[in-house]
Symmetry: C2
Subunit: 209 residues, 2 copies
Amino acid sequence: MKRGTIFVLSGPAGSGKSTVREKLMQKGLNFHYSVSDTTRKPRGAEQDGVDYRFITKAEFEDGIARGDYYEYAQYTGEYYGTPVSQLIPYIEKGVNVILEIDVAGAMQVRERDKNAVLVMLLPPSYAALEQRLRDRGTESEEKILKRLARARDELNFFDKYDYFLLNDDGRIDECVRRLEMIAEVESDKTRNNPDFPNKFFNIQGETKK
Amino acid sequence: MKRGTIFVLSGPAGSGKSTVREKLMQKGLNFHYSVSDTTRKPRGAEQDGVDYRFITKAEFEDGIARGDYYEYAQYTGEYYGTPVSQLIPYIEKGVNVILEIDVAGAMQVRERDKNAVLVMLLPPSYAALEQRLRDRGTESEEKILKRLARARDELNFFDKYDYFLLNDDGRIDECVRRLEMIAEVESDKTRNNPDFPNKFFNIQGETKK
């Protein structure tokens, strides 16, 4: 049975990654969206169990101790993590899983699964990112500067990612289409079909020694 | 300026790789088909300079001595090789190049260019391959057995290839479509866009030290 692939989607605040991920999920393809645990408070319309599972610091740290997290990271004092239960059962059933996580988490995924596919979503330029964050008009200057500093740090990981998608204005659907293509060609990778040569020669039940 | 990518298409005789390559070329995409040099005699409707450049053994060996070949291999006593001039000028102009070469040549390309994309085209099974070769009805039993033995050898290189495409009956157009997709997502690879972070921050003319 063919395993599913882990797709990591990262990108600075303002890159549009949630929108891209939601649009991809709406297509009803072979994807499970991995709901992260976090200790931060819900914002706006965020729903428990849908956007995140909101848990306490004690619960999160118990989870870490039990090895419940495939990856986790701390950001501004709060934990964010991917429960193993959101990943492995799906992968094993041949379902792809999409993770919307930051660069620190992405590096942990890369370490644990060399077949994971890391995608960074980016606005066309730093100036455009700054403009988007200011146009929101909802955040303090201090928060905007923090987000920009973080975006600069994230760009340092650019070459650790497999793909990057440019989310210029009006290009959301193109990003979704490209993410779909990336997933589609992934199924043609030889590394995701290691049993094919045996199948080709009709050799059954043999395992490589 | 973005470099083009080298796409290697390999596959046993009877896999349909020439048909797939021709159909891809007919689409008028950003591809150059690299015409190989060979010392073997032309067959059927093969045209000099179109299917191969047909040259003498002495000419080929002079070329090897001059370093004219990006890769070359010998098969049943005849040389086959990709002239550097069929590759590098195109890659540097941002044009993708498609090479229809065997596994030995593919391994040399992999060695020289880690960004090359290796694709193996395969019939669904060894039995299907044998059937196809016999159905042609043009070759001696000895030749058929040789081709089958070679196909078995080629399959040993399966996991050295990036992608494989299954060319089942009636699936030629699907293979072409997938090859197109593979090329399209290649342009989103971070490794093919190493200058993007500088562009993002609008840093011009700087080279990494």
